[in-house]
Amino acid sequence: MDHLQNLARQQWLIPVIPLAAAAIQSLLPRSAKKLSAGLCLIAMGISCLFALRAFFATLGHTDAPQAVWNFTWFEYGTVSFKLGFILDPLTAAMAAMVTFVGFWIFVNATGYMHDDENFTRFFCFLSLFAAAMLGLVISNNILLLFMCWELVGLCSYLLIGFWFQKPSAAAACKKAFITTRIGDVGFFLGILMLFWKTGTLNLYTAEGTGALQRVGELLGPGWFGWSVATTIAVLLFIGAMGKSAQFPLHVWLPDAMEGPTPVSALIHAATMVAAGVFMVGRMFPLFIAGGSLEHPTFAMDMVLYIGAFTALFSATIAVAQFDIKRVLAYSTCSQLGFMVMALGAGGLVPGQFHLLTHAFFKALLFLGSGCVIIGTHHEQDMRKMGGLRKYMPITFVCYLIGMLALAGVPPFAGFFSKDEVLLVTFQRSKLAWGMATFAAFLTGFYMTRQMFMVFAGKWRGGDHNEVHGHGGHEPHEVPWNMWLPIAVLSLFAVGLGFFGGKYAHYLGAEEEELSGKALVMGLSIAVGALGIFLGWVLYGRKPLAHANDPDPLEDKLGGLFTCLNRKWYVDEFYEATIIRATTACGTLFRVIDKRLVDGILHSIVWIVRGISQVCRWVGDEFFINGGFDAGCQTVRGSGWLMSKLQNGRVQNYFRVLGLGTIILLVVYFLKS
């Protein structure tokens, strides 16, 4: 155990190395491209080694090993505020995934951003982001977690708005930051409540005084009749919703695609969005406190249904998108919905396992789309692509693997993890399971749609814009440093699925047989196949000939399609309601301030001036000038008298001397 303790103590190295790299890169001049990239990759590599070392160390143990190392951050009065790092299977696996995927994404990024003049700044933000994410993962103190959480939000803002010259990018990064901030308010309230109730922010401590270790105490009455634990859980989940783009706060994720593709891959596929799910996993004891699988707490229900709805909702939108990255963005939303739903259904292990597998193949898909964009000279609209399998064979193969994994085709990772999720949800509630299954069907459909639009048929990019005359380029294969990462990731996308059981065991969850396992599995396979077939029918048989042909689905759905394309008008809805309301409040307060406050102030000033006038007249004129000056006059008069005595004549002083002696003598006689 002490070996783990040592490792726990060295946990802080993992985030600090990328942080150091980020610091150094921030000082580098813009021209030091090679050095910056090198630094970033090396730092990520080292921290990846450390993470893997910790991962393999925890792998060996059977009972869920947990090593905590706390240090005092600062002391106020008698209380010393402790921060700490934790090393348990959940963290180890997550850290390993983040560093490994991150490393390959960085490799791809060197290619993608090759000819961008702000190359060094980009990699600096990347390493900063990595540091923040790792810090979040390993922290044992919820406040430290929250700090890293905010840092991650900041990095996403910086990276999304990397090309801040583009107004859409600037707006997108602001939007992302604000919506996540709204979630963070809930998160912070949750922290405060936790601190208020338990008195400490450390999750686990060796002595067992950690917040999560004393969950039992938190069953007192909280808000809205829930137990304290549930209230905190709800608040924390609001934070997670903001960060993991769940239903009400998901609007920022599609717009976040404005950032460079490796950013989308890293942040909006593998790591950041997973942070919310990870946080819920980390705080899982809070969620299930006070309830059990049979009658779950309100928090669990809330998580479940929001997850399910988000999955379905975003899947529907993904179907009608034309931008290659937006499709993937919405698919991420729906997959996150799946994970959250799994957690809501009480399945910590399926949720986390799906998170891991999803991170790999979604990163793969995003990088693939990155390669496609580079290959087609920054073309993002699928309608202008097509037939890329001839031009970009490697990308095509990897992309295909990623698509199959995502769609849940059996041998691939996606199938196993999604299957687990559906199984857990099936136990929990049939409604959620139904929605999830339909979402799985849609996933299959829009992924195949994307595949055929992009890779099948012939290259539509050229003809559409002869007007510009530059479109005549043929797409070309990307250099090695872009396709190598997707190749590696595709390996994982294939192989990771088989480790599902071992992962459950690793996390320490006991292996109990769930009923209806065969039914659920069979149904999910069927649904996936149906989705793919429909995709092939609409898009595969005769791929689009020209960029501006109508989308086959469009004439099928008509109005619904445009509605889907407009993202169910959610943005417009927000625009209409919340934003207008706040501006209205703003003007109201301005008016109040103007009328009320200024008015009061002016009146007070007037009164004070009046009083001073009175004081001046009464006090100054009458008393001071009169009385005081008279006093001074008398003093000066007596002074004048005394000065006459001092008239400089020596003999005068002598006479006074004589007088003095005489008086003394007289006194002497009178006395004796």
Partner: protein
């Protein structure tokens, strides 16, 4: 020679008073100095009288007088030098005119 000490003391007192009168009334600075000189001598006379009448056994009693005479001489020397300096400034030794240090 059986004159009681009182006579000497009274003599000294009278001389002192005369000296003081001179110092106070006269206009001329030199006369003032002379008055002071007279006062000095009357004091020393007192000392010697006491030596003779009371402390005759102690030969060193006279030392008081000797030191007093020495100091008086030094004082008068400096006093006169000052008067000369003052005269140079005022072109007169009239005490009433020396009002420069008026308060």
């Amino acid at each position: 020679m059986n004159i009681p000490l009182g006579h000497y003391l009274i003599l000294a007192a009278i001389l002192f008073a005369i000296g003081l009168a001179g110092a106070l009334t006269r206009k001329n600075a030199i006369i003032v100095l002379m008055g002071i000189e007279v006062m000095f001598n009357s004091a020393i006379l007192n000392l010697v009288a006491f030596w003779q009448y009371k402390y005759f056994a102690v030969p060193t009693a006279q030392l008081f007088a000797i030191f007093a005479i020495a100091v008086a001489a030094a004082e008068s020397a400096v006093g006169l030098a000052l008067v000369i300096a003052v005269y140079r400034h005022y072109k007169s030794v009239d005490v009433d005119e020396m009002k420069e240090l008026k308060g």
